[in-house]
Amino acid sequence: MSCELPVSDKSVVAGRMQTFAMQNRIPMQVTVEIIATCNFDCKHCYIAPGAARDDIMSLERAELLFDRLVEAGTFEVLLTGGEVLSHRDFRAIYLAARRRGLLIYINTNGYLIGERWADFFAEFRPMNLSISLYGLSDKRYEDVTGIPNAFRRIERALDLLDARQVKYSLKCPAFTLTSDEIPGMREYATARGVRFAYDSSIQPHEKGGLDSVKMQLSPDQVMALDNRMDPGLEREGEFFTSRLRPNNGRVYKCGAGKIGFHVNVRGDVSTCVTSRQSVGNIFENGYEFIWAALGNKVERRFPEGHPCGTCNFRGVCFGCPASVEALTGLPEGYVQQYCKITHQRAHQLGVHATGIPRTVVEGIPAFVRVPSSAVRRALPVL
């Protein structure tokens, strides 16, 4: 018998928790959108352009939500927006979550971080501040966000966080206005000693606008960027090949709706932060209802004859169910654009002969939901 705090292997306990949560379907990780509006006016954003001024989660509702999440077994919460630091009750919401024993992660653009926020985060450290980087100059920032002199403010914010040893990472959405600076951004992050990530998937506006989609990179541009960032796709290759396995026909391969979900400012619940299709409202319908509804949703299987139903690249597909849902309306829809990127990656890694999806040759079955003609026109040319 031992009462000691186990220290043998730091990852063992965390791994056990993850496995337990998967096996028992416990929502360990939840993203909470506490504000939909933003101080930036980003060209690619899918949330803020459609947000109303009152799209804000109140402190009272946030506390109610956190209580429910704790009861449900949630351990990690990502506070996201909009721009969370522009929420007038952010501090109270953040501290309310911490008091309940939740581990807090934060998405922010960093623009509002001055001495006071830096001091606050030094005093009440989050697990991580995930800061969006949109360029390496004021000019580029203004092109993307519409805000002048923003990069110098971001740099100051990072300096303030560095001086206080507050943990943060940098990330950037890769699209037509940012992709050329992505390699430089990684160097910038490396010089600061922090992690950098980019994502080439751009979503349509929450309320249907397609301006953002028009700025998505074409498959060739995605491949070119991936190869600049990871010559020969060496690192990607490890991930890719490790997740190649026979397809069991399930639409969802990730933990969405199994060990986590997303709550927006109104309490509407979706599978993850990328998905904007609500299965119910946690305040109105209750937790049991929404968790059951999510369970039903993520148990979906591809219908017979669906091109994704037998594809062995499902676990590494560029188009996750949420991003496909955003373009087609259904998580089991089909976006040939994404399929082509995935097959090009597979081809370069030597696990697909041609790099050309079967649907290019054979066509897409008529029953499969594809992007509307308007969306197809917005997407970059295949």
């Binding site: 018998m1 031992s2 009462c3 000691e4 705090l5 186990p6 220290v7 730091k10 990852s11 306990v13 965390a14 791994g15 928790m17 993850q18 949560a21 360990m28 990780q29 933003c38 690619h44 803020a48 949630t74 351990f75 990690e76 990502l78 996201t80 909009g82 721009e83 911490r98 008091r99 309940r100 024993g101 581990l103 992660y105 998405n107 030094a122 005093e123 009440f124 450290r125 697990m127 995930s130 969006s132 990330k171 950037c172 959405p173 990530a197 980019y198 994502d199 998937s201 953002s212 991930f239 990730c254 933990g255 969405a256 060990i259 986590g260 993850c272 932060v273 590494v316 996750c320 949420a322």
Partner: protein
């Protein structure tokens, strides 16, 4: 926030990587007096949660670098008992009753656990004379 703000930041899904979150490092030197005459009570800067099938001690402290600690089930039992002022003897007895173990097995574990709690600042200690205690 815009596209690319996924929780995983990898572009490969939405599962957070939980590895390396338990960051205990080396324990500082124990700070308990070791006196059998003293009483102990858990501090207010840590919260015990049973989450993901594990007993976890979450740090609520302001500038805490270590976000959480894992407890064994017996550690969790002792933590719960430490809601009240408890002497070493009472804790040992509590553990013996709960798990039907001999004193020579329970005592060293309780002592070590108290020292570890003390080293992370999760334990209050006072002379037993200040106030009586009870199970």
């Amino acid at each position: 926030m815009g596209a690319g703000d996924s929780i995983a930041e990898t572009g490969h899904g939405t599962i957070l990587d939980l590895t390396q979150r338990v960051n205990l490092g080396e324990f500082p030197q124990p700070q308990t007096s070791g006196s059998a005459q003293n009483e102990f009570r858990r501090g207010d800067d840590h919260l015990h949660r049973f989450v993901g099938g594990e007993h976890i001690l979450v740090s609520l402290r302001r500038a805490e670098d270590t976000p959480f600690f894992a407890l064994s089930i017996t550690g969790a039992t002792l933590w719960d008992a430490l809601a009240e002022w408890m002497s070493l003897e009472l804790l040992v007895t509590h553990l013996q009753k709960k798990y039907e173990v001999e004193e020579d097995v329970a005592r060293p574990d309780v002592e070590e656990f108290l020292q570890q709690l003390s080293s992370i600042g999760a334990l209050h200690e006072r002379p037993a004379a200040e106030k009586g205690n009870e199970l």
